[in-house]
Amino acid sequence: MTALELAYWQSSLLRVLGVLIAVILPAGAFVYVFLFKMMSFMQSRLGPMEAGPHGSIQLLAEVGKFLQKEDIVPERADRRLFFIAPYIVLASTFLLFVVMPFGPDAYFTDLDTGIFLAMGLSSVSVIGILIAGWASANKYSLIGGLRAAGQLIAYELPMVLAIVGVVIQAGTLNLQGIVGAQHQGEIFGWGGIGNPFIITQIVGFVVFLIATQAELTQTPFDMPVAESEIVTGYITEYSGLRFLLFFIGEFATAGAFAAIAATLFLGGWAVPFVDLDEDVMNFVGPLVLFGKMMLVGFLIFWVRFTFPRFREDQLQAFAWKYLIPISLVNILATMALKVAF
C-alpha cells in the first residue's frame, strides 16, 4: 500500500470514522440478522416485514422511536452518574476495536500487547454497569448491577485463561501476530490452510464462547437483566436515548467479542492460499473478518435463542467449578505440547 501522507487531524478523523463504522455496522447487522430475523425464524414467524424489503430498515425506525421518547430521570437518582453510565459502557465497546486488525495495513493501532489491552478494556464496562445500577436509586437496578458485576468478573477469568492457550501457541500477544501465526501455521507438517487455532484450541474456543455469552449477558446467562425477577436489571430506569446507548452497547460488544473470537480462533482477516502482505487484503480482509464474525455471532445467538436462564448460583458454580479448571488444564496441555514439539 502506498503511504498516504496525512496530517494528524486527518488520520484522527479517519480513525474516528473507521471506529464508528466498525462498531455501528456489525451491531446493526447483528440486531437485524440475528435478533430480528433469526430469532423470528426459530420461533416460526417472520419478524419485521413492513419497513423496507423484509423489514431491512426496521432498525432506523427503532432508533427513531427511541430518540423520540421522553428522557426520564428518577427523582432520587444520582443524576451525574446516571448520565455518565451508558457512555462508559459504550466507550469500552468502542475502545475494543482499537486493537482489532482488519488487514495487513488496515488497523487502528498495532500494539504488542493487543489482546491484553482488549481484555482490560472489555472489563471497563463492568464499572459503567455498576454505576448505572447504583445511580438509578432503584432496588432492581442495584440487584441487577451487582449481579452483572459478579457475573462479568467471574467469567472474565475463564475467558482470559482460554486466550492464554492461544497466546502460548502463537507466541505473541499481538493480534496481528496471532493472525500471522495462524496463517503460517502447520497441521502436523501440512501447511495447506494454515492452522486456525480452533483446531488445536477447540477447548479454548468452547470456553471462550461460553464466557463470551456470559460477558454479553446473553440469554442462558442473562440474570443481570432477568425480566421476570428484576424488571430489566440495571437498565430499568433508563429510557429514550440512554436506553438506546445500552442497547447499542450490548450488540456492539457482541460484535466486538465475535471479532476477537474470529481473530483468535478462526484466522482473523487472513484467507488461506493468499499471501498476508497482498495489498488487496486491506479491502478483502475486513469483509473476511466480518464474515467470520457473523459465523461466531450465529453461534452466540443460536445458543441465546435456545436455552432458558441459569439460576444465579448455578451460574457462579459453572464458572468457578467447571470452566476455570477446564481452561487451566487446557493451558497446561498447550504448554506441554508447545515444549514437546
Binding site: 433469526m38 425464524f41 426459530m42 416460526s44 414467524r45 417472520l46 443460536w302 435463542f305 435456545t306
Partner: protein, 180 residues
C-alpha cells in the same frame, strides 16, 4: 456431563425450526427459498387475512326485533359500555277482541367498543336471543368516538353471524337457531 446431549437436542430443534421457516418446501434440501408465507405459522396481517374461528368473539350483533328492553345486558356489563333507552307503548292485541298489550320499544341501543372487553356476559345473559357473537373483527376507527356502534350498525352485524354448529352426536339439546 449427562446433560450435554440434551443441550444439543435443544439446539437441533431451534435450528430445524429456523430451516423449516426459511426453506418451507423440503428443509435445506432446496436452497431456493419458496415464497416465505409457506414457512411461518403466522400470517402477514394487513396483506393476508386469517379466517377466524366460527365462534370467535369479534363483534356483538343485535337483533332489535327480539329486544324487550329488559336491561339485563346493560346491567350485567362489567364495563357499563351498553347504553339502552326505551319507552312503554301500546301494541294491538294478539287476538281480535283482546286487550291492548303494553310493550317496550327500543329508542337507543349503543355499545361502546372502546370500553367493551369482549367478556360476552351480555350475550350469555340475554333471555330473548337478541345478542349474538360475530367473528368479524375489522372495525377499527381513526376517531375514538366512532367506536360507539349505534343500533343500526349493530343490526348490520347480524348478517355476519354464522349459524350455530351442530352438537356432538348423541346430544339431546336442540341446536339454537340464529334469527335472520
Amino acid at each position: 456431563m449427562p446433560k450435554v446431549p440434551g443441550l444439543f437436542t435443544g439446539m437441533r430443534i431451534t435450528l430445524g425450526e429456523l430451516l423449516k421457516t426459511l426453506f418451507p418446501r423440503r428443509g435445506i434440501k432446496t436452497l431456493i427459498p419458496a415464497p416465505v408465507k409457506h414457512g411461518a405459522v403466522t400470517v402477514q396481517y394487513p396483506h393476508e387475512n386469517e379466517a377466524p374461528a366460527p365462534r370467535a368473539r369479534g363483534v356483538i350483533a343485535l337483533k332489535s326485533e327480539n329486544c324487550t328492553v329488559c336491561m339485563l345486558c346493560s346491567r350485567s356489563c362489567p364495563d357499563w359500555c351498553i347504553y339502552i333507552e326505551g319507552h312503554k307503548t301500546k301494541a294491538p292485541p294478539r287476538r281480535p277482541g283482546g286487550k291492548e298489550r303494553t310493550v317496550s320499544a327500543l329508542d337507543r341501543f349503543d355499545i361502546d367498543y372502546a370500553l367493551c372487553m369482549y367478556c360476552g356476559i351480555c350475550v350469555e345473559v340475554c333471555p330473548f336471543d337478541a345478542l349474538f357473537w360475530s367473528p368479524e373483527y375489522e372495525y377499527s376507527e381513526t376517531r375514538l368516538a366512532d367506536l360507539l356502534h349505534d343500533e343500526a350498525r349493530l343490526n348490520e352485524w347480524m348478517e355476519t353471524v354464522p349459524d350455530f354448529e351442530a352438537y356432538e352426536a348423541g346430544s339431546d339439546a336442540k341446536v339454537k337457531k340464529v334469527p335472520r
